[in-house]
Symmetry: C3
Subunit: 197 residues, 3 copies
């Protein structure tokens, strides 16, 4: 890699996995409790309201996105308000957007979709600092939405039929993944060591 790439310690990778897994569990609980999503098969044990594969997938995805982000462009700017506070704002923003997608289930879907994408756009534009963040956002949306489309088609789980959907998943889903991808990458930057030069 070029000199712009930074690196993540083992502790950083573990932190990313835990944040992703716990955030995924909280958000999935919102989706399950609101009936937004329903697990149709349960080959694995449940962890809280989720099939075990779900937090493992979100945790691993967060590690992968973070690793890619730091490799692509590891240059770290001083965060606007201290790393801890900046990280807390970023995590809370994505978890809040996740909960919002559960709350709009019974609402008029066009307005719900516009609101989710608007909040996602605020998060992306507020926290992205380099083109590498957009790479992470697009990768998260492609792989996340793609995997969910496959699993919904395989009847592993389903999105409620009263939601606006495409290919079996909620129309607002790409917005949630775009925001998540940027934050996964930015959290990794907070945990990374600076590039050599």
């Amino acid at each position: 890699m070029t000199g712009r790439g930074g690196s993540l310690s083992g502790t950083g990778l573990v932190a990313l996995f835990v944040i992703g897994a716990v955030g995924g569990l909280i958000g999935d609980m919102c989706h399950v409790e609101s009936g937004t999503t329903v697990y149709l098969e349960d080959p694995l044990p449940y962890l809280w309201k989720s099939q075990l594969w779900f937090p493992l997938m979100v945790g691993s995805g967060t590690v992968a996105l973070g690793w890619i982000r730091v490799r692509l462009d590891g240059r770290v700017r001083a965060p606007e308000r201290g790393a801890l506070r900046e990280g807390a704002v970023m995590i809370a923003a994505v978890v809040g957007l996740y909960a919002l997608t559960a709350l709009v289930r019974g609402e008029p879907q066009p307005a719900a979709i516009v609101l989710v994408y608007a909040v996602a756009a605020v998060i992306v534009a507020r926290f992205a600092t380099a083109p590498a963040d957009l790479v992470c956002a697009v990768l998260a949306a492609l792989f996340g939405v793609g995997i969910e489309i496959v699993l919904a088609a395989a009847d592993v789980f389903m999105y409620a039929e009263d939601l606006a959907r495409f290919a079996g998943v909620a129309t607002w889903l790409p917005g949630l993944y775009l925001a998540y991808g940027v934050i996964a990458g930015q959290l990794a930057l907070l945990f990374s060591s600076r590039p050599p030069d």
Copy 2:
């Protein structure tokens, strides 16, 4: 004008018109689909869910507000996070507020009104940089709400009867226009050239 006034190129004016018209179409779609507003007369063709005069009015209003803002005080500060990202945050914030006004139709109206004005106040206080922004906010509210009151009285369109209303329009409407006025002016600053001194 004094030396504080800046200027807008033709490209900037076109960009303001397009942003206003497209944003208006998206927001109006939310209002129509949620039953918040209903067109009662359709003398012109529909564009998406809107009578053609609606996007033309919002686009023209955005150009007018932007032109006024830049003439009143064209001094540009470096935006906090790059012009493109700052513009994206501003547009997404107002479109999100627009969608929110559609989503609160069936909710308890007093709390809905407080939430809309609170979000509008955050947008105004977050993005306004000079007294000229408040001029734009007030102009947008006076003309926007005024025109809607006249058109509602003329039975061109109506706000749903289950909304809290005054003079035929939603009680939260001035809040939406105040936020829109500030953002129209600030977008114009992003597109403007600096004043001479």
Copy 3:
């Protein structure tokens, strides 16, 4: 006290009381109108939708938290966007969160609770500038939630039975008080005079 403590003028204390009392009246109106809370006893006259003790309690609490915050650590940083605009953003953020807690009454409670705590976390992490802010947040939550638990147990008022509750109060209530505590302290800093050194 140490040299880090600042001081509040009488005007500052009055301003804090008025902001707290008026904000409390607006938020309580949202709760009463949405049926989130119901007054069961009315020994005192009503002011708008609130028993008179409520705005007095919130106003006094805001003064107390502000006084504590300034004494603990009165060092003032220049606010990011001017004191007036920063104060307006902070007040609007907490009033908006207050209104949000009224709007989520009929929604799936787990997602509603996650959204309220996520927004509260954004407010805390966005506006806190020192450990003293967390002291104020915890004090507000302990005393605010504690007093409400006692008053609910005494049947002075009640939270609606269709809310997720603990000890008679809404599960999201600590989140609202945590955000309020930080903002009460930060508003006091805006009104305070700098410490001597």
